[in-house]
Symmetry: C2
Subunit: 726 residues, 2 copies
């Protein structure tokens, strides 16, 4: 296996293969490890294709249901197409800049990252908007078949994300490495290209998370404010002109946005791990250190497939079945990691700043990642599910009014930061103890390798949510809605829980990127013949200033995102009011509302409002790099500052939001007076405040902290001479 | 002047004065500079005594008014006495620990700091609860006389704070220095004692801020929830059993708590500046570097007196008069700082890590502090006053309901962090540029030197608030309440603005403390004959773990504080409901409610609930220091992490709270439907959520971030051997 990575060895510099054709190398010389990993990814994608065909073959209900589903499909597609157009123009500019600043391979890498990130979301969403109506139809038969359709719909997105991420990163790596004429430069060029790929996926995911997040919450809040509160309509009432937009939002936000986000975290963690591996590993197994992250990912695609298969097979309560699937996947991965590590690192590996690390050390580092996945899921579950004290206290606080509900929810979010961050600290400590910076990178990659099955849980949410909407709009029997509601409640908890996973893994991934920033900086100094003696010391006011600037970014970023939801929701409110005034027959069921204009308005508003917050972090990083008195130290401070406050804000916001949501659900189950009580009204307020918290600002912080770090890595060659001159 | 600081010079080691009596030295050998500064402090205190007599001589209204005022006085006194008892027992334990760990002088220093911090709040509050009724009486004559009484009442607290802080720190410094037998150790011992003083004042101020903050908001929220919302009573209606407790709360929270808080920031900044001066300044003017912070403080006592005099003299609109007073003080201080600096540093001073700094450089550093005071006041004013966009947008968002009001207010708080932190960054950059770490310390001290006049503005708020309450409860003419309401509105904006000042200066002061931590650590290593080569580098996972732990502290701390308000308010709600049910005549005005039990309940609840959040930071710091795998690096990360997130959380919370408060006021002025409209109901929700934000959690973060830093400095000698062994 160690002999596999032929392209890299300097001994092969004059290998006859290179004289044949650079591309041949891809096919004949690829490392067995990398090949296995890419094969796993392809298996995953094939399984996704199989599931797509299975979903499409499922019955899609009556004409009315199909009609509604089609409206949702059209709206979602229209939004994503326009998003591609507006992000596309920005992407072209950035592509040109990356090409100019970092060379063609980084530029192409950028495009590959951007396109695959988009594709994962796009295909996943297209499946989801077909799975929803089929879930409704299946719910007319049995809860179990509804669960299967919805879960498999989500599983497709999960498999697409991990499969495409592994494939795009692996392919870029191989292609550039083998196309580089001078093999001495090959790995370096390939890594450069991967940094481009990381930026491409991060940038798309910021836009997708923000745009989707603004869309879904503007439609939701807008529909609620006029529909539910002013006109006393029920959720998903077809007389509400914003109801289709609301259902579209679930798909573009919770499905496409989330898929792009996790795709990005996955790709970036993988790239970060490869970068750190190439920069810190040396000795006989140095090449293995590059392949190991790929294999961790590849192996886990197979475990995710087994997990998905398990959920389809087992006959248990839905929540138990889903949890069982995750458990099976995790255990299987852990079991395969052991022989994998022993084979790849028979004599261990030397890591800069850490010395020799045994295969077992590397294995333990990856185990930490798997354990962290579980720990974060459990903690977030504690703070956001109706089974535990925090949510019940919020529900109880709702009895004394809107304000106490809000205070209690805000406090819960703040409390919820303690344990995840403490465990992240422990994970950093232990994985660094086992294998230095590379250990942290391996732990992050192992944590992310679980995302195939975890996204399946997450994407399950919007499908069941939509299924319920279609049931109401199509006027199906009440027990169909009850079945989908039961699944939706599980979906809500799963969504909250996976958000904790997403932000925790994003924080860790960003730390790996900061490590890469420092290593890249070192190399840039050395290339110019300068000795690197930068310390990012807290005693240095430059570092403190950087920490303050960076620490402020997540605050300002979420402020802008929340404003954006407010503005876009305002546009929806106006349109709904206009329609209800112009056609009073709508409320009486005599006139049909014009769903299309609402979809159109919220599409435009979301795309307009996402620009400022999405561009902000990029501009700040470039401004800091360029500012005459600042330099790489301040920039280093910015990177870490963003990670520290971003992690806390992200966890606090998503936890508060999830807890408010479920406190409302808990009251609706009949507690504290149930639906229609004062406590319920207060809990609706909390839920609405939680909407932009948990679905827009909070999750968008994930890609944002990584964009900041990747842009910093990317601009090193552009600014290095300026920095050295200052 | 340079010859003045005789106790310190090694040449005088065998000075005949020492053979006479150590105490004689205090009186004969004190540096002229220090003497001048202490004289200024004494002048300030004398002026405060004069103002107290002036206030007490003012007419105190009719019997009913006096009766109500007495009830408030009794309640406030009872609370503070009990607070002294419960904090006293903790203080005795800590005194013993400090004595054991750091020697008797630190122990005595701790007591002096604790007692003076308490005294400033205690006396100030006792004056405020007498000024309130006299303000009501003056309001029956003219708005101008009401302004004078209320402002002078606040000015007393301001003068007490700065006078006592200067005097206690100066006296401790002199006393220990001159009582130390070996003059070579004298300054070192004196500084050790001052670290004790810093801890004493910080600890008291955490308790005072938290206890007072929980008290005031629990009483306020409790009174509102049952009184206003359930029973439809007006603010300060005497039929509300919690109304006296609410008025007591204004005094113990906004007056005593705030005074202890700023006393602490002042004392700690002064001590930090002296520490940094002694640790980094060298050469001919090294002694001047120790005296300069004292003189900056002393000079500004005089300018504060002039400013207070100016407000009393000038005949302008209240807001203009107050702003004029601040301007006069600032300009006067700036004008005196110039000759002062030139006299003290005729040949500049050498600063470690910076080289020679001219007198002008030191002057510019102090100028930065004065400018920062103004900048922070202006920015906070923009975000929290009814004249500008942010508050008006919140008011507008209230039209669409509770949730949009909350979202808008939360976003405003997040936005409000950007500019102050940016300017703090600029201030750090420039003052470091001028005179290294000492420059930052000087800038902070100059900023704090303005607190005499600024507290006068702040303490003015609770007095006018109380005055309005007394007017309503005593059934005075409506125009009296209108007069006090006008003043109260100004007081509200002033309170919000000075909170921005308090947190910004606290953040900077804490940074100076972090600098002291590193310098102290260095010295501790050197004393044990070890070379200090610790770097707090962001590449080191220990530092990152520290940043995460420290970054989490303000989040958890504010979560606990908000919970505390919720629990204490719950106790009030129960008691008010009990009284209204037991005696239905209360609401009809036939029965008199039992105000005393409400006061009693909220007193007990506040004291009980403050313990956990107040002790938390101390325990975390000690735990990190003691943890087997951690050490001074992780601890350093904790200190900086706490400062970074604490600053953002503090600014966001106080700004959101102030903005919500004034958005309600703006609606009550008749905008967006005025009182009684849906928008008004939503704005009341925002105001209630803002209460614990702006008056409990947010401001309590100030002393908390300093407690963390001081405890770390204090425990260095205790843990240094353990750290070196690890």
């Amino acid at each position: 296996m160690k002999n596999g990575f032929h392209c890299m060895g300097k001994a092969e510099r004059f290998s006859p293969f290179h004289s044949l054709s650079p591309l041949m190398c891809t096919f004949f010389q690829v490392s067995n490890g990398l090949a296995i990993s890419l094969l796993c990814a392809i298996f995953g994608l094939l399984y996704a294709v199989y599931l797509i065909r299975w979903i499409l073959k499922s019955p899609s209900g009556n004409d009315r249901m199909r009609e509604i589903a089609e409206a949702i499909q059209l709206g979602a597609k229209a939004y994503l197409n326009r998003q591609i157009m507006s992000v596309g123009s920005i992407a072209v500019i950035i592509f040109a800049l990356v090409w100019w600043g970092r060379g063609l391979e980084s530029g192409v890498g950028f495009l590959v990252g951007a396109i695959c990130s988009l594709a994962a979301g796009y295909i996943g969403m297209n499946v989801a908007v077909r799975a929803n109506v089929r879930t409704t139809q299946a719910a007319t038969i049995s809860p179990r078949s509804a669960l299967r359709v919805a879960f498999n719909g989500g599983a497709i997105t999960g498999l697409l994300v991990v499969g495409l991420a592994l494939l795009s990163v692996g392919f870029m790596f191989l292609a550039v490495k083998c196309l580089t004429p001078d093999p001495a430069d090959a790995v370096r060029c390939a890594l450069d290209a991967l940094i481009g790929t990381a930026l491409g996926s991060s940038l798309i995911s910021v836009f997708a998370r923000l745009g989707g997040g603004i869309y879904t919450k503007a439609a939701d809040v807008g529909a609620d404010l006029v529909g539910k509160i002013e006109s006393k309509l029920d959720e998903d009432d077809p007389r509400n002109p914003a109801t289709i937009a609301d259902n579209v939002g679930d798909n573009v936000g919770d499905c496409a946005g989330m898929a792009a986000d996790v795709f990005e975290t996955y790709a970036v963690s993988l790239i970060g791990a490869i970068l750190i591996g190439s920069l810190t590993a040396s000795g006989a197994s140095a090449e293995s250190a590059l392949i190991y992250p790929f294999l961790v990912g590849g192996v886990s695609v197979i475990s995710a497939m087994v997990g998905i298969f398990f959920v389809n097979l087992i006959n248990a309560a839905p929540a138990r079945a889903l949890q069982g699937g995750v458990l099976v996947s995790t255990l299987l991965s852990a079991a395969i990691f052991w022989p994998l590590t022993q084979t790849l690192f028979p004599n261990g590996v030397a890591i800069t700043g850490k010395g020799d690390c045994s295969a077992s050390s590397i294995f333990f580092a990856s185990l930490i990642g798997l354990v962290m996945t579980y720990v974060v899921l459990l903690i977030t579950h504690y703070y956001t599910s109706t089974d535990h004290k925090p949510v019940r206290l919020i529900a109880q606080a709702s009895e004394t009014g809107h304000a106490t509900n809000i205070i209690s929810g805000l406090a819960t979010g703040l409390h919820a930061t303690a344990l995840p961050v403490a465990f992240i600290g422990i994970a950093i400590f232990l994985s660094y103890h086992f294998a230095g910076l590379y250990g942290i990178a391996v732990a992050v990659m192992a944590m992310l390798s679980m995302s195939g099955i975890i996204i399946a849980l997450d994407a399950f949410g919007p499908i069941t949510d939509n299924a319920g909407g279609i049931a109401v709009m199509a006027g199906l029997d009440k027990n169909v809605r009850e079945t989908t509601d039961d699944l939706d409640a599980i979906g809500n908890t799963m969504k909250a829980v996976t958000k904790g996973y997403a932000i925790a893994s994003a924080g860790l991934a960003a730390l790996v990127l900061f490590g890469s920033y420092v290593e890249e900086l070192k190399m840039a100094y050395e290339r110019l013949g300068k000795h690197f003696n930068l310390a990012f010391d807290l005693q240095d006011p430059n570092v403190i200033i950087g920490l303050f600037i960076g620490g402020g970014l997540p605050f300002i970023f979420s402020a802008f995102s929340m404003d954006a939801v407010g503005k876009a929701a305002g546009a929806v409110v106006k349109e709904v009011r206009r329609q209800l005034t112009a056609k009073p027959g709508i409320l009486e069921g005599r006139d049909v509302p014009d769903y299309g204009t609402c979809v159109d308005i919220v599409t435009k508003a979301a795309l307009r409002e996402m620009i400022v917050p999405a561009i902000l972090p990029v501009i700040v990083v470039i401004a800091v790099a360029w500012a005459p008195f600042f330099g790489p130290k301040v920039l280093g401070g910015v990177l870490v500052g963003t990670i520290v406050t971003g992690l806390f804000i992200g966890i606090a916001m998503t936890s508060s939001g999830g807890a408010w949501d479920n406190a409302k659900k808990f009251i609706e189950l009949g507690n504290h007076g149930g639906k229609g009580s004062h406590a319920h009204a207060a809990s609706v307020t909390g839920d609405t405040v939680g909407d932009p918290y948990k679905d827009t600002a909070g999750p968008a912080v994930n890609p944002m902290i990584k964009v900041v770090n990747i842009v910093a890595i990317l601009i090193i060659p552009v600014f290095i001479k300026l920095w050295i001159a200052n």
